[in-house]
Each structure stands twice: as structure tokens, then as C-alpha cells.
């Protein structure tokens, strides 16, 4: 689920702007850290967790917007590899800034009171927070689908992934669309991080972990494909969970081997389109 949010944002950004945003994992991390701070700062009320969940992704979206307008916009016309390297530089910058702002210690976010306990599912205790995540996942997927396929904005995004020049020639402000998409993608990563915060230790290095996995998800699913991200996030999630049970030592190798196979057989991913 968290993986899906991060990957779909990354995939969306690539689809429209042709930038592989390596800093996407950092956005996820910033989302989680903002969640930590907001939950601490806000008064202890039943609604404060939800307010934090609303605000943290918005903060990340703002950060994404600043980066897009301040840096990426300057280099869209350059070699795609330069863009890749630039976003890598951002990983280091954001990672260090987070370290300076929040310090090296692990943080945790307590779950909201309503969801702190567990419920019994088939006789097994099951943390209710995960239930929220399970409910939210299809909702977010549905929401994204509605946005992409039922709104004018979604249509523009899909048009941009097919042919940006033509879209620009038809009078659409492509530059503004880039910014919107980048902000939206960052928001999704921030949401992923904010939602994940109560389930994991919020720590340095979570950017790299999520980036490598999201990267695999996006490549397997096909860069720029919405359905691809969904299916392959599921696939990778399952592979990770069962891989750890069956071959604990090599589950990560398994993941990258799968990605290597997909890249060789279908370089554009399972659901992507071939490029020329």
C-alpha cells in the first residue's frame, strides 16, 4: 500500500515529465518525519492525528513544488541522465537536511486511539491500524482512477504521457501541467510516508529502502503506467513477504533478479509501452 502510493507517484511523474525522480523516496521520508512532528505539536485531541495526516503530505507537496519550479524546470531540455543525476543529488541534500532537522535517533508515531488496538480476524489478532490501511488502499486506487479517467485534468495527464509536443501544440500549458503533476506525485509520496509512519520506525535510511523497492515496482510495472504500478506493487509486496519466509537470505536478490528479467524481456515493463 505505502509502496503503491510511492510508486504510482514516481510513475506518474515519469510518465508526464520523463524524469525518473530518484528523490521520491526522500519525499516519502519527509512525509513520515513531518507526521512525527505534527503529531507531537498538535494538541492531543481525537482529530489531531487526522489533521496531521492531512497536513504532512501537503508539506511534502509544497517541497515538491519548490523543487520543480526552482530546479527541474531549468533542465527539462537537457540529457535525461543529467536529470537523473540531479535528483540523486537531491537525495543527499534532503537526507542531510532531515538529519540536521530531526537528528539521528529513530522516531515513532503512536497510532490514533481509535485504531490503537487490534481486532480478531479469523480468530487471529490483527492490528486495527492495518485495517485502515487496507480500507484506504482501494479507496486511493479508486480515487486515482477517477481522477485519471473521469476528469479533464486526468485526461490531460494521460495525453501528456502519450505525446507532450502534440499536447503543447493544442494549446495546453504543458509547463504548468508538469508542475501540477510533480506536486501531485510528491503529495502521494508524502501521503505514503505519513500513513506508514505509525507502522515503522521513522529513521534515516528509510528513503533508500523505499526508493529501491519503489524503483523495482515502477520498472516491473512499466514507467508511466498507473495499472502497472498497482499490479506490480502487489506482486512485489507478495514476493517480499513470501520471499522472506522461503528464502530469507536472498529475498532482495529475488526482487532485483525479477526486475532484471523484466528489463531484458520487456524493457518497458509489464504494462508500459515500447518507446522509440
Amino acid at each position: 500500500m505505502f509502496l503503491f502510493l510511492v510508486s504510482v507517484g514516481m510513475s506518474l511523474i515519469f510518465g508526464v515529465t520523463r524524469i525518473v525522480n530518484l528523490a521520491h523516496g526522500s519525499f516519502y521520508m519527509v512525509g513520515a518525519y513531518l507526521m512525527v512532528t505534527l503529531v507531537e505539536l498538535l494538541p492531543e485531541r481525537p482529530w489531531s492525528f487526522w489533521l496531521a495526516l492531512l497536513l504532512a503530505p501537503l508539506g511534502v507537496a509544497l517541497l515538491g513544488g519548490l523543487i520543480e519550479v526552482g530546479l527541474l524546470r531549468l533542465i527539462y531540455r537537457r540529457d535525461p541522465l543529467m536529470q537523473l543525476i540531479l535528483t540523486f543529488g537531491l537525495i543527499l541534500v534532503i537526507g542531510t537536511l532531515v538529519l540536521i532537522a530531526w537528528g539521528p535517533d529513530n522516531k515513532s508515531v503512536s497510532r490514533p486511539e481509535v485504531l490503537a488496538g487490534s481486532v480478531r480476524v479469523f480468530g487471529q489478532p490483527f492490528p486495527s491500524y492495518y485495517l485502515l490501511v487496507l480500507v484506504l488502499a482501494p479507496l486511493v486506487a479508486l480515487g486515482l482512477w477517477l481522477i485519471f479517467y473521469r476528469t479533464r485534468w486526468g485526461m490531460l495527464i494521460r495525453a501528456a504521457t502519450v505525446d507532450r509536443e502534440m499536447l503543447g501544440a493544442l494549446g495546453v500549458d504543458v509547463s504548468a501541467l508538469y508542475t501540477q503533476v510533480f506536486v501531485f506525485g510528491s503529495w502521494l509520496a508524502g501521503l505514503g510516508g505519513a500513513l506508514a509512519a505509525p507502522t515503522v520506525a521513522v529513521a534515516m535510511g528509510m528513503d533508500g529502502d523505499v526508493l529501491t523497492t519503489a524503483f523495482v515496482v515502477v520498472v516491473i510495472g512499466g514507467l508511466g503506467s498507473f495499472a502497472g504500478s498497482f499490479v506490480s506493487a502487489l506482486l512485489v509486496g507478495l514476493l517480499q513477504s513470501f520471499g522472506i519466509l522461503v528464502f530469507p537470505a536472498i529475498s532482495i536478490v529475488l526482487l532485483f533478479a525479477l526486475m532484471a528479467v523484466v528489463l531484458v524481456v520487456r524493457p518497458w515493463g509489464l504494462f508500459g509501452r515500447a518507446e522509440e
Partner: protein, 310 residues
């Protein structure tokens, strides 16, 4: 190369040879590291600058060289002077195996598959505790006595790096090197005139892997130990940043970049170790946005510039 290049090279060699007499050992270590990083970045730039292929996983070959050297010495009891030339062959073999798949792809996908293979190498090193020591690495792989002192190891590194750079320069100036530039400029046209594009790319990949392996092996003996970090992805970005700093269009750009990179690293991490990644990332961002030609490009030195497609 122009007529006074040999004189410039001679002057540089003289300065480097006399340095140990003038500087405290610390700077020798810094210079040794610069030489090793310079070789690593130059090997990397054979792909990026001359072949137009950006690898995001060159740490794999650096680590293969370093681990092969360490394992040969520690587990097989091979003398260091024999391990040093053998270890890069292991890196080259790895580059051949992975490169076979990687050169089938282009641009972004090329970069990503190379990264994927490097992550596999990292994971294998990290998990295979009985052979590689896992997270603890392999310790105590110092070279034998005469080479152990910073000054002798400095000369030794300079000599090995010098030989490798000459070899790489020969590759770049050979017909193969020019065919490689043709492949960079236009794979399709290169194919029309009869260049086997994939084979040229693969050969370049293997050569680059080999010399990255030399850098790795040199570093293993310099450091006296090897760690899985050598294969981790930030390491893969080191030659990239160095080459970018120095300028990817010239053969000597990465060497200049190595100087700048290491000296900056030393200056910054000495005072504020925490800020080093911030500075590094900031430099990368700045170089890309402001200085596309790197520092050598800034000097406007067109002398050593790789001429596009001969």
C-alpha cells in the same frame, strides 16, 4: 594531445614524485586516494564520456576487484603482487556477465539495469557471511612490509594508476576508441558503416569494469580491509560525480575531478562531517544546473577535449 602535452605530463610526474619529501604522510594518503578515485572515474568515463553509456552500478566492479583481491590474499594465500593483477579479471568477468544484458538497453533503462545488478552484487556480499564476512567485511588485508608504509604505497599506486591511465588513453585513441565515439553519437549510423554496436559497447563495458576492478583492488590494500559498502549504490555515484565535476568530455577531466572531489571532501568532512553529503548533493545539483561542462569545461580548455566522432 598537443605538442607540449608530454612536457606538462612530465612536470606533473615530477611534482608527484617529489611530493613525499615535502608533505606529511597524511597528504600522501590523500593523494593515494585521489589517484585511486581518479582511476575509478576515468574507467567509468570510458563508458560515460566516450561511449555515451551511463552506468549507475559501477560500484559492483570496484567491489568485485576489492573483494577478489582481499579473498585471494586471505583465503587462498596468494601473494599480494599476484592478487593485484588477478582481481581485476574477476571484475571484468562480472562486467562481461552483467554487461551482456545491460548493453541491450539504452539510456535510462541502461542506467537502471546496471544499478539492479550492482544491488545484486551488494546483497550477495552482504549476505554471504561465510565467504565475505557480511557486514563486518574482511579485515587485515595489508600489503607486505615494504609496501605498507604510506610513502611506498603512494609510489606503488601512482605507478599502477599511471600504467592503467596510459592503457586507457591508448584505448581511447585507438580505432576502437573512435568507433566507440561514433556509437555514442549515433548508434544507427555507426551500424550503417559496419560497426558492431553491441560488441563495441560490451568490450568498453568489460574494459571499464576491469579498470574499476584495479581501482578496487588498490583501494583494498590501501584501506587494509574491505566492506560491503564498496558495492552499495552511493559508491556507484562517486565516479559519476567525480567525472561530472571534472568534465566528461575530456580524458583528463575525471582526474581533475578526483582532485577537486577529494580535497573538498577532506576540507568539509574534517570540520563538519555531517554536512558532507549535503555539500556533495549541492555540488552535484549546482554543476548540473550551472556548469554542464564541469570544471575543465569552465577553463575552456579545448586541448584535451574528446573530438566527437572521427
Amino acid at each position: 594531445m598537443t605538442a607540449h602535452a608530454p612536457r606538462v605530463a612530465g612536470a606533473i610526474v615530477l611534482v608527484l614524485a617529489l611530493t613525499p619529501l615535502a608533505l606529511p604522510p597524511f597528504f600522501l594518503q590523500l593523494l593515494t586516494e585521489i589517484a585511486i578515485v581518479g582511476l575509478f572515474a576515468t574507467a567509468f568515463n570510458l563508458l560515460m564520456g566516450f561511449g555515451g553509456m551511463v552506468s549507475f552500478g559501477h560500484a559492483a566492479y570496484f567491489a568485485l576487484g576489492a573483494y577478489a583481491a582481499a579473498l585471494l590474499v586471505k583465503k587462498a594465500g596468494v601473494p599480494m603482487l599476484l592478487a593485484l593483477p588477478v582481481a581485476p579479471l574477476v571484475a571484468a568477468a562480472g562486467a562481461l556477465l552483467f554487461g551482456f544484458f545491460i548493453v541491450r538497453l539504452t539510456h535510462t533503462y541502461f542506467a537502471m539495469l546496471s544499478l539492479a545488478f550492482a544491488q545484486i552484487v551488494f546483497t550477495v556480499i552482504f549476505k554471504w557471511k561465510t565467504l565475505t564476512g557480511g557486514d563486518d567485511g574482511l579485515l587485515d588485508v595489508w600489503p607486505p612490509a615494504p609496501l605498507k608504509s604510506p610513502a611506498t604505497y603512494y609510489y606503488f599506486t601512482l605507478a599502477v594508476v599511471g600504467i592503467c591511465l596510459l592503457a586507457l588513453h591508448a584505448v581511447v585513441s585507438s580505432p576502437f576508441g573512435y568507433a566507440l565515439r561514433a556509437v555514442r553519437e549515433s548508434p544507427r549510423r555507426a551500424r550503417f558503416i559496419g560497426v558492431d554496436v553491441r560488441r563495441h559497447q560490451l568490450v568498453a563495458f568489460v574494459l571499464s569494469g576491469f579498470f574499476s576492478g584495479v581501482a578496487g583492488a588498490l583501494f583494498a590494500f590501501y584501506n587494509g580491509s574491505v566492506f560491503p559498502d564498496f558495492a552499495y549504490f552511493p559508491k556507484s555515484f562517486e565516479p559519476l560525480v567525480v567525472a561530472l565535476l571534472g568534465g566528461v568530455q575530456s580524458f583528463f577531466g575525471p582526474l581533475a575531478g578526483a582532485f577537486g572531489f577529494k580535497i573538498l571532501e577532506w576540507l568539509i568532512s574534517r570540520q563538519w562531517p555531517v554536512y558532507w553529503p549535503l555539500a556533495l548533493g549541492g555540488i552535484v545539483v549546482l554543476v548540473i544546473v550551472v556548469l554542464p561542462g564541469g570544471f575543465v569545461g569552465l577553463l575552456g580548455s579545448r586541448r584535451w577535449r574528446a573530438r566527437p566522432s572521427a
